[in-house]
Subunit: 411 residues, 2 copies
């Protein structure tokens, strides 16, 4: 009988969101009149801006006429989009990225999950803790995580704790690792890395021969002009890093699906025979074999982000979410809570009050303020004692939630 | 230094299409006035039909308003689409498939390439020969193909030759295999399987404990009412098969990107401990970890295929391509060539004339008729001595190409 990939059996079940749903349902059963507000979501709520809507309609009309219809496109993205990305997202910051180093896709989740395929099954992976679960789970499936350990992790993963004690700035790995996933501005902590911290990582990776898998999905939320938006702003990064970028949290593409990954041609890893093999060619082969490109109309929508109107409208969406984040951050501080993030990121990372763990605070917030958030422990063991709220709600709900937390949360 | 996945180095380079491009360029350099016609493409050329265009515009307008905006959707597809698929593509043929056994995706290429992840790295794979290269290459990348062998294949792949001698009907594997890729109507041969042949495969798989990965991307082209459209029309198939379906070649979605895969809940494979594990749960976990769903607007477009107008318009597109296929088939027969396919499939599989191999016929057709096709040898060693033409051109070019072949091809 056919044999399964047994690594799948080592995945932990999706406990976090099902447990949230279970507790919310139980609460609603007991309090049918309570009006719940969800501030835990990491999903866009603002509609697509007008410039993008207009580009979509125009592209749909192109698909309706034989003369302008588009069939299969380049698996790695149309040049009209990769050239705009190279110019606006990199060139404008003084970073030289060639259009053919940019691989357009259906989402950073896909890219961040798939990129590990290029590495040896016995490569050692380092992850910040807490972490976006996709980095971990995709490596569990590939057999790189090893066996579950006694502390709720996996024995072959190198965890880099990020807590208030180290200002959510991950330490360099203490043992040899081959791949490191970094996401800044960070989901879930809202932390950012300054230029010096980026340089420390790039220099370390160059010395260690490691590859940095840098997820910049939230770079659009950076407000501080001193914080790098791209790892390629750091000298030497082209030899050691790839960068994942997404339109999901900027232009509201969570349901529209477009992202890209930058793989510099200078980035190599070693074959069994010791040869340095460019990852650019391997990723090109992976994408052209297993993917057929993002839809033409969606790539046209992404291109509209780079028009003057599109840029202004996208900036307004980010400003809107960041104003929500400010309201939450300041409101929670006024309520006596200790909060992190929310300044260069849409995520607010709340320290749970003394005596309450992540789930304890979840229950307190639900019962006293009728507000639903996300327990930090769900993102990894170093997330225990923290709680995630987000700026992705609408304004009235966000204000109401903050008012309730201030007035109803028992000290 | 980080180590690559060495299996990638065992991939053969994409020789076929680059060699076609090289020969065409050389010809054009020598004959700048020759008007080339490309009949080798497997890509839609007819525009999206009006019902689908209208659905796209309506869905884009939904995305423009906060009240109807959609963020993240279900990773496995919206119910509005899976319910239509279950009803129209299966229920209407007397096949019961539950909506949650249907996984909507961005394309059958992705699904056919990714599904192998669920199996053990040492599973044995059988492929028809000639074959769509994605089935092979995705398994080479996963390490299942073994080493290149002396005959241009891989030593762990079980090849099932499909030639005129066996009427392009693949033989059952002679040794133990775990996974078999089947595609009917076939790309590239245009062959179909009748009910008895399907039953032979399902019965064999049940006895052998193998899984059939059935690619039905071209089922819309079936004209003969006795030919099954789905492997699930065969009793017992739910325990041994998955089915890949696509809107690419029916509704013209090659650049719009939507497909689905059916994974019955009864289908299992064995874990290391001998337990029967449902592949449905593993595929759900794979898709929800590594994919974020097809775009909302594209799923709405796919749903329009199931409206009365959409259905009629899609049928007209298929009829159009099939008329092209008939013109090619009859024209080539009139020119004295032996042709297969083109009756229930958009592909015409031409036997190269005595004394010419696939590339020899490519050169002859290019030089004498200025027509570009695809050498059969590019699809595998059993494709040697054959040549692929397709019905996906426009009418005038197709007629002109056939006229040239009839009048200019030297006997």
């Amino acid at each position: 009988m056919a044999r399964i990939n047994d690594n799948y059996l080592r995945l932990k079940s999706g406990y976090l969101f099902s447990e949230i749903a279970r507790r919310v349902k139980e609460f609603q059963g007991a309090h049918p009149d309570a009006k719940l507000i969800r501030l835990g979501i990491g999903d866009a709520t603002q509609p697509l801006p007008p410039a993008i809507v207009a580009a979509l309609h125009a592209a749909v009309d192109e698909m309706a006429r034989a003369e302008t219809f588009r069939g299969y496109g380049p698996e790695t993205g149309y040049e009209f989009l990769t050239e705009l990305i190279a110019k606006h997202d990199y060139g404008a910051r003084g970073v030289t990225i060639a259009p053919d180093e940019i691989f357009v896709s259906d989402g950073s989740k896909s890219d961040a999950a798939n990129f590990q395929e290029l590495f040896s099954p016995d490569a050692v992976v380092a992850l910040t803790d807490p972490v976006y679960p996709v980095y971990l789970d995709s490596n569990v499936m590939a057999g790189r995580a090893g066996a579950p350990d006694a502390r709720g992790g996996y024995d072959r993963i190198v965890y880099l704790p990020c807590t208030a004690e180290n200002r959510f700035d991950p330490p360099l790995p203490e043992r040899a690792v081959d791949m490191v996933y970094l996401c800044f501005p960070n989901n879930p902590t809202g932390a950012v890395l300054g230029r010096a911290a980026f340089k420390r990582w790039v220099d370390w990776a160059r010395g260690a021969g490691a590859v940095l898998l840098y997820d910049a999905a939230y770079e659009g939320y950076i407000q501080d002009p001193d914080i790098p938006h791209s790892i390629f702003e750091i000298e030497g990064a082209r030899q050691v890093a790839v960068e994942f970028r997404s339109y999901s949290k900027t232009a509201g593409f969570t349901g529209t699906r477009c992202a890209y990954t930058v793989v510099p041609k200078d980035l190599t890893a070693r074959s069994a025979s010791g040869e340095a093999v460019p990852l650019h060619g391997l990723w090109f082969r992976r994408q052209s074999t297993k993917f057929n490109g993002a839809p033409y109309v969606i790539q046209r929508a992404a291109a509209a982000v780079y028009t003057p109107e599109g840029g202004t409208q996208v900036r307004a969406i980010i400003d809107f979410y960041m104003e929500n984040a400010r309201l939450i951050r300041e409101g929670l501080e006024a309520a006596g809570l200790t909060v992190y993030g929310g300044r260069n990121a849409p995520y607010i990372w709340v320290k749970t009050p003394a005596g309450l763990d992540s789930w304890g605070f979840f229950d307190k917030l639900l019962n006293e303020a009728h507000v639903v958030g996300t327990p930090g422990a769900g993102f990894g063991r170093s997330g225990e004692g923290y709680f995630r709220l987000t700026g992705f709600g609408n304004r009235a709900s966000t204000e109401e939630a903050v008012a309730r937390i201030k007035s109803r949360l028992k000290r």
